[in-house]
Symmetry: C2
Subunit: 315 residues, 2 copies
Amino acid sequence: MFEEYLSSIEFPQQPSKLYEPISYSLLDGGKRVRPALLLIAADIFGARPEDAMPCAGAVEMFHNFTLLHDDIMDNAAVRRGKSSVHAKWGSNVAILSGDAMVICSYKLLQQAPAGVLPAVMAEFNKMALEVCEGQQFDLDFESREDVSLDEYMNMIRLKTAVLFAGSAKIGGLVAGASPEECELLYAFGLELGMAFQLQDDYLDTYGTADVLGKNIGGDIGEGKKTFLTITALNEAGAATRRAMLATFNEKKLPLGHKMGRIKTIYNSLDVPEITRREVKKYLDSATAALGKLEAGGRDVTLLREMVDALANRNK
Amino acid sequence: MFEEYLSSIEFPQQPSKLYEPISYSLLDGGKRVRPALLLIAADIFGARPEDAMPCAGAVEMFHNFTLLHDDIMDNAAVRRGKSSVHAKWGSNVAILSGDAMVICSYKLLQQAPAGVLPAVMAEFNKMALEVCEGQQFDLDFESREDVSLDEYMNMIRLKTAVLFAGSAKIGGLVAGASPEECELLYAFGLELGMAFQLQDDYLDTYGTADVLGKNIGGDIGEGKKTFLTITALNEAGAATRRAMLATFNEKKLPLGHKMGRIKTIYNSLDVPEITRREVKKYLDSATAALGKLEAGGRDVTLLREMVDALANRNK
């Protein structure tokens, strides 16, 4: 139903270079986790679907805007198996159509019931700005060798988890849930989002390309800071640490070889298990937040199912 | 007072590369025409200054965001006598801090009184998206030789004039002006904005660099489509037209010589006078809209003074 809603959003025909990239990036089979979270949260607290749907569209539109602009900054040519917008149309078109997407997300948000609009907007704005902060920290980390695990966790909280948290909370706001319930939804989304990002880190190294629908090993190839890298550097002795950094810096080493060496190090340091435990920790916290909502008499079955689905995701 | 308000907006310290460029570009002495328009319109209809001020901040923030991203797209190294953000910090920082500025403008907008927030947001969103459309048309025109005057006027309406129009109307909305009065404010702002952009076109060729605080002749140097170019091409006979296009295409001709030749052609075709007449036409239409507001019992003195100031502007 959400997919139909997204497809039904109409854009002007002209200028085509402004609007074509929006449909192109919006309707390309994303997982739609954030709008699902918002719609389920809204449903639990009794919102009318037509009141929640535009807000769900807004968070998905905003998420896709961030991907579009991130791809320019990362010079990424491929997104979800297709050319990225900047690879297909050039960076000027990508900048400007991304800008238009932000505004389009506010056009959707503006359709929230007038009574909750100020609260919905405040939450959306806070969340959106934090996502920008997270992206800037991520860019800052590229040129740093001393990123701590705390700094990394804070970065992914901002870049990824707050969008989950805000989506869940906006669902509650649209439905007129109490402030306490909204905060529980926020906490739930935040923990879920943290787990989601750590799984992304894990799958980029330990996933299966065919299942993921994208190449794996990108993080290792680019020497990106991830939960896995930073944990390995923390756990390693001086010699292993040197070997690891040397492997990352060997620019000419084919990716397959590089991945083999790095995975051997990760495995020797128990990094996969540490990561899985960390994911579980966040999923357990998410479940705990659901328990409190349930204690308040809410049927959180669908949110529990989301946790289970994420717990078992391999893509 | 508005300048103090802008300076008082607080941004987080970190990440510094996200927030420093915002203050840098916001507090560098723009003309503040759009917020002035909003504040005066709001004042005329009796809004409390504290209700209108955040909306005035929002339109100025949004305007400065468009300059920031336009400078990336135009590869412009200088803005208001300083390095542009992308020249100083690189294009990734410029893209992302621009994105943050859009969101910051909505954070300001969100402070509008709750009762008018839906209407204010609807107007802001429409205006903001049209500005993106105008910028895309402007980019499209770069690679076209056959841009008609109608297309050009529509482009500047979107890129420049709707931001004036929307600012004036939002001032009215905040003050609770009637729908008819809001439309008159919109019409006033639109005509004023058209005149403003045509004057920009004029001053880029016929202004004085010292007074303007920037180099003149940029439009001619880059072969940009402006009201002057298009009017000249429309007025010229075949031979003059060929001479003009040949001059624009002479890449190695020093700017001074190029300007000399083009101005000679413009002058022979009466382009300066045609442009001044067109500016006057729009200013007269703006004044006519004020007359209708006045007939409704409003004191539009300050808006008349804006028209007079713009009529005589040389920078």
